[in-house]
Structure formats: structure tokens, C-alpha cells
Amino acid sequence: MYPNGMRLVRRGRRRGALLMELIAAMALFGIVLTIAVPVVTSVAALRDETHRRQIAQVELGNLFEQIAARHRQGESVADIAPTLQLAAEAAAQLPDAKLTIETAAPTEALPTTLVTARLQWTIGAGRTAAPAELSACFGAPAAQEDAP
């Protein structure tokens, strides 16, 4: 007997306690697993998406390099733009890739041709990724400028 009247109660049956703790640990581990696996999967998906976006940006840069090279040889931007196509390698890495190229004719405020290229692709289950976009201004073809 304790002075305050409480009795010391011995814990009688310890049988199965370890098993119960293990079951609880397994349950907790299962919860951690169900949280961790989707997180890891989503991180991998995000990494793939970042890679695709970089491929799209590099490809848009390639298209503008082609415009600059052909523009230098005397072709007009308005003629070049409709002929541009995605490279097969880029198209293979961007599902359902859709390339849109718009040209804005020169104005008094902006005496150059503004080219805007937009590339869009899907990211599974019919969802479309935010488009990658690149714009640049091109003047008159070099051949015309060089002409007397």
C-alpha cells in the first residue's frame, strides 16, 4: 500500500504485447508507404515534365535559328514560317505536340516582323501542358537590305 491509499497494481499479462507493437509498426509503415510512393512517383513525373519542357524550349530555339539562317539568305519570314516543322526527335519526345507559328507584319511602331512560336503537348490523360513560347523580331531580309 502506498501512503495515499493507492495500491500498486502489477501488470499481469504481457503475453502478445510485442506482437501488437509489431502490428502497430506495420500499420504505421503501411501509412508511410502509401504517402511515400505517390510522392516519389509525382517527383519522377515532374522531372519528366521538366525534361520535356526543356526539349520544347531547345526545339523552339532551333526553329528560330532556322528562320535566322534562311532569312539571312534572303527569304522573307512570312514565307519561312509556314514551312517550319518540328524535328522528328522532338516530336517523339513530346506527346501530341502541336506547333503554332504566328507572324505579325511590321508596323510604324514596330518596323520588324514579330514571330511568335508556341509549342504545346499533352501530359497524359488528355491534360495539356502549359505551352512553351518564344518570340523574336526579324527585319527585312538581308538580300533586300543589301540591294541598292
Binding site: 506482437l19 506495420m26 508511410v32 534562311r70 539571312r72 539568305q73 517523339a92 538581308a142
Partner: protein, 202 residues
């Protein structure tokens, strides 16, 4: 009387014996505990391995992405200010550019990296390395000599060649095109367009 005392002792002895057997664990319980522990350990090992692999892959991917960004910018800068481009016919993994400021820049590809070396009067003035995924990098001149193309093919396509057609695996191909001799830097600085700057260049 004696028989009743003996019977009581026997009963109490049996009770003691029973309580003693309950204090320990049976073999079945030990086996269950050990197998549960083994399962937990194996799950934990697999999960940790998965996490470590994901972390490693993430680091690698980030390094390659940063490298590609730097590579595309530097490669295009060099090509834009190049006066002459010489792709080695014997080694498509190497190219040398002569820039407008007199520097000679060589790009040499190895299996997992591309090295850029800039020389001025045979003295090395800059050396950079760009890490890519393992694969083959080639340089070529396209579009009637107006573009230089860097193409890096990762290992995956080579593996795919032996795979059945039905196996769809994303290809790992990086292509960087750059217009030769179109220096965009003065255009950016002056706020004018590229072609005007080019036509004004000597």
C-alpha cells in the same frame, strides 16, 4: 481431510504451473514476430532504396538540364560569331570554329560530356565541360552550310533497336541547331533586330 489438503495442493501447483507457462512466449509467437520483423525490414530496405534511387536520378537529371541550358547558349553564341566552321570528317564528334575576335574554339564530345576549349594564339583562354547523359554526340553542317547541328543520342535508342517494335520507350535525343555567322549580341545591345545588325556588320 488429508486427501482434501493434497487435492488443494495439487490444484494450486497446477495453477502455478499454468501461470509460469503464460509468462513466456510460445515458439509460434517467436516465429510470427521474427517473420514480421523480416517483412518490415525488407519493406523498409526497398523503400529506402527507392528513395535513394529517386534522389540520385533527380540530382543527375538536374545536372544534365543545367548543362543543356549552358551548352545551348554557349554553342549558339559561338556559332553566331563564327567566321569559319570546320567539322572534322574523320571524327564527327569534334568541330572547330574560328570566331570574329580571332579565337579558335574546339568542341570535342566524349561519351558523357562535351568539352569546349577556346584558344587565342595557341594559348588556352577558356575550357568548359558540359555533362550529358551517356551517348554519342555528333556535329554536322546542315541547311546548305548555314546551320551547325549538335546532336546527342542517349543510350536508350541503341537499346531500343533490338527491342520489339511494340515496346514504346521515349527516345533520348537532343538536337541543338545554331545559325553560323549571325551575331545577335550587338542586336540585343542596341535593341534592334538580328538581320539589321548582321547587314551592318563588315
Amino acid at each position: 481431510m488429508m486427501a482434501s489438503i493434497a487435492h488443494r495442493r495439487l490444484k494450486s501447483g497446477a495453477a502455478e504451473c499454468g501461470s509460469r507457462s503464460r509468462a513466456g512466449m510460445s515458439l509460434i509467437e517467436v516465429v510470427v514476430v521474427i517473420s514480421t520483423l523480416a517483412a518490415l525490414m525488407s519493406f523498409a530496405t526497398v523503400l529506402l532504396g527507392l528513395l535513394f534511387r529517386a534522389d540520385h536520378a533527380g540530382h543527375d537529371a538536374l545536372a544534365v538540364q543545367l548543362s543543356i541550358t549552358r551548352l545551348s547558349r554557349q554553342f549558339r553564341d559561338d556559332a553566331h560569331s563564327a567566321l569559319n566552321v570546320d567539322v572534322a570528317s574523320v571524327n564527327p564528334g569534334a568541330v572547330e570554329l574560328t570566331l570574329d575576335d580571332g579565337q579558335r574554339v574546339s568542341w570535342i564530345a566524349s561519351e558523357a560530356a562535351i568539352t569546349r576549349t577556346a584558344r587565342q594564339d595557341d594559348a588556352v583562354v577558356a575550357r568548359d565541360a558540359y555533362v550529358l547523359s551517356e551517348g554519342i554526340t555528333t556535329f554536322s553542317i546542315t541547311d546548305a552550310g548555314s546551320l551547325i547541328r549538335l546532336q546527342h543520342r542517349g543510350r536508350n535508342p541503341e537499346v531500343l533497336e533490338s527491342a520489339p517494335v511494340s515496346v514504346a520507350t521515349p527516345s533520348d535525343v537532343l538536337t541543338i541547331d545554331a545559325a553560323i555567322g549571325i551575331d545577335l549580341r550587338p542586336a540585343h545591345a542596341a535593341g534592334t533586330d538580328a538581320t539589321t545588325a548582321l547587314s551592318e556588320a563588315p
